[in-house]
Symmetry: C2
Subunit: 317 residues, 2 copies
């Protein structure tokens, strides 16, 4: 079974949205708190989020065992409202590591009713563009009935590699572009095929408006765990061509995203989890090599949440 | 059981050498060719190499399954000449990935008679220095009877983190410094404790002479797979204070290492495997995201091997 053109088109449409990357909450014993995982996802879906991406980097993918990553996909499917036409949100499952492991994770997700996978850039320090292409060709070829989303984090991966991969694998349908350079994004997206793939601004809200002008039709988000309404308001503004509205949302997102980006993104995940903890949604704990934010940053996060009109008491209403 | 001071001192001494990172050869079916793995390692040990590091980046660690990585440690132990006092070379086993996986890999290596592990920098894009410290503290604490070698690849990990980790974990005994900055190396090594740890120049032969001047007493090497005599001659020159001899070896290594470093190290492993293939020692195949070198690079490698006086026919003598 391969992805028929109609389904591919449908999935490309489903990806043109906010791709929420849920956190993976931990309990006091350091194990994953699956109840909290479901709670965080359901709260987003209730708010109108339509795409949930377990096993992304905000989900601390590289700190999870293979068994935990499988369970994260299952938990996301369940929290997104079941499989098939009954689901309220689509699930895009992150896969990575060695090739057999990535393919196995994709098969497992498919068995849960997942229709799309996001492939992490291969780990390790040595990557050739031709080898990158081969890595994705093997995964997409082994899972021809799944939609495949590329996650670009190396500027050496250019339009020609993405276009060639799309030619080889019809099920490669979207690109999450994770390089903070909207000019490069524009060049790559337009040269690789702005309509052939759904383009996601891969560095979230702060890059979304600039990338939207050149063809992005969605963006990934960690902030959406905390303030789904804010991420969705940016999406709505961008979709409606309301640049002022988008930049109003951008300004609201900015202090939070700048905390996450500081010190080479040291606290990228822990800022999100601290905010969720302040809202009473899960513990702030992260696994190494992440680390809990400082007291000072905790105070800044409290101010940001207050500015957004979010508080623990409102959450418990 | 914890590492007693005498053993720690002995292991620190064992690390002050060329840390050979063997390739992981693949067969025509894409599976690991364990016979070739042993052959490449035995050839190095026969030449006088005294430290073998399976599951390093030259061994394509991130492209191996967990089972293959375990077997690579077993194969290295066997090829290095058995365990205990009968071993001809020490084995330093690379471990990484999620914490339970890293600890399990360390236990497995220990069960094979391995006395030291090298911990890969945690994968994934988000790393905080405090989280890096915690990651290594947990691993070193779970394996107190093994010597632990740090592998630094992020300049945010400074002397104070390394020193603190050494204070917390007496079994952290060495640092492979993988940043191409001999001035930073000197500052970090001297501030963290040039005698407390054995310092390895982590970017191989090209950084070894500069780092030696400020306290390095060994270096990691991928080139040693191909030309063990050349790597060992550099070691001997450095140990003997023969700067001219070291730079003569440096010049001999240079074209090979520059091919490996080109294009952000795209061909780092494939250059080594191509050279081994030309010597008839294993196939040139690499796994994605590495990719076989171009025809042009193959020609350059042939010239370098000829310049070193190595050829397939000599190998088969």
């Amino acid at each position: 079974m391969t992805l028929d053109p109609g389904t591919a088109e449908q999935l490309r449409g489903a990806l043109a949205t906010v791709a929420a990357i849920p956190v993976t909450p931990f309990g006091p014993d350091g194990q994953v708190d699956w109840e909290a995982h479901g709670r965080v996802i359901r709260r987003m879906v209730d708010a109108g989020v339509r795409l949930i991406t377990p096993n992304g980097n905000t989900g601390e993918f590289y700190a999870l065992t293979a068994a935990e990553a499988r369970r994260a996909a299952e938990s996301a499917v369940e929290a997104a409202g079941g499989s098939g036409n009954e689901r309220r949100a689509d699930v895009l499952a992150g896969v990575g590591h060695d090739l057999p492991g990535a393919i196995e994770a994709g098969r497992h997700a498919r068995d849960q009713g997942v229709r799309m996978i996001m492939v992490h850039q291969p780990a390790g320090p040595y990557l050739s563009a031709a080898g990158w292409l081969e890595y994705h060709r093997v995964i997409a070829g082994a899972l021809p009935d799944l939609g495949v989303v590329l996650y670009i984090r190396d500027p050496r991966i250019g339009a020609r590699h993405i276009r060639l991969l799309g030619d080889l694998c019809p099920n490669v349908i979207a690109v999450k572009y994770g390089i903070r350079d909207p000019v490069l994004f524009a060049a790559v997206a337009r040269d690789a095929g702005v309509d052939r793939f759904t383009w996601l601004a891969g560095l979230a809200e702060l890059t979304a408006p600039a990338c939207w002008t050149s063809g992005a039709r969605g963006f990934t988000s960690g902030l959406v765990n905390v303030a789904p309404g804010l991420a969705l308001s940016m999406l709505e503004s961008l979709r409606g061509g309301d640049a002022d509205g988008a930049m109003k949302a951008w300004e609201a997102c900015r202090p939070f995203e700048e905390l996450r980006a500081a010190d080479s993104s040291a606290d990228n995940v822990s800022v999100v989890k601290e905010a969720l903890a302040q809202l009473g949604l899960c513990r702030p704990d992260v696994r190494p090599p992440s680390h809990r934010v400082s007291e000072d940053v905790r105070g800044q996060i409290a101010q940001i949440l207050a500015g957004w009109g979010l508080s623990a008491s409102e959450e418990s209403h």
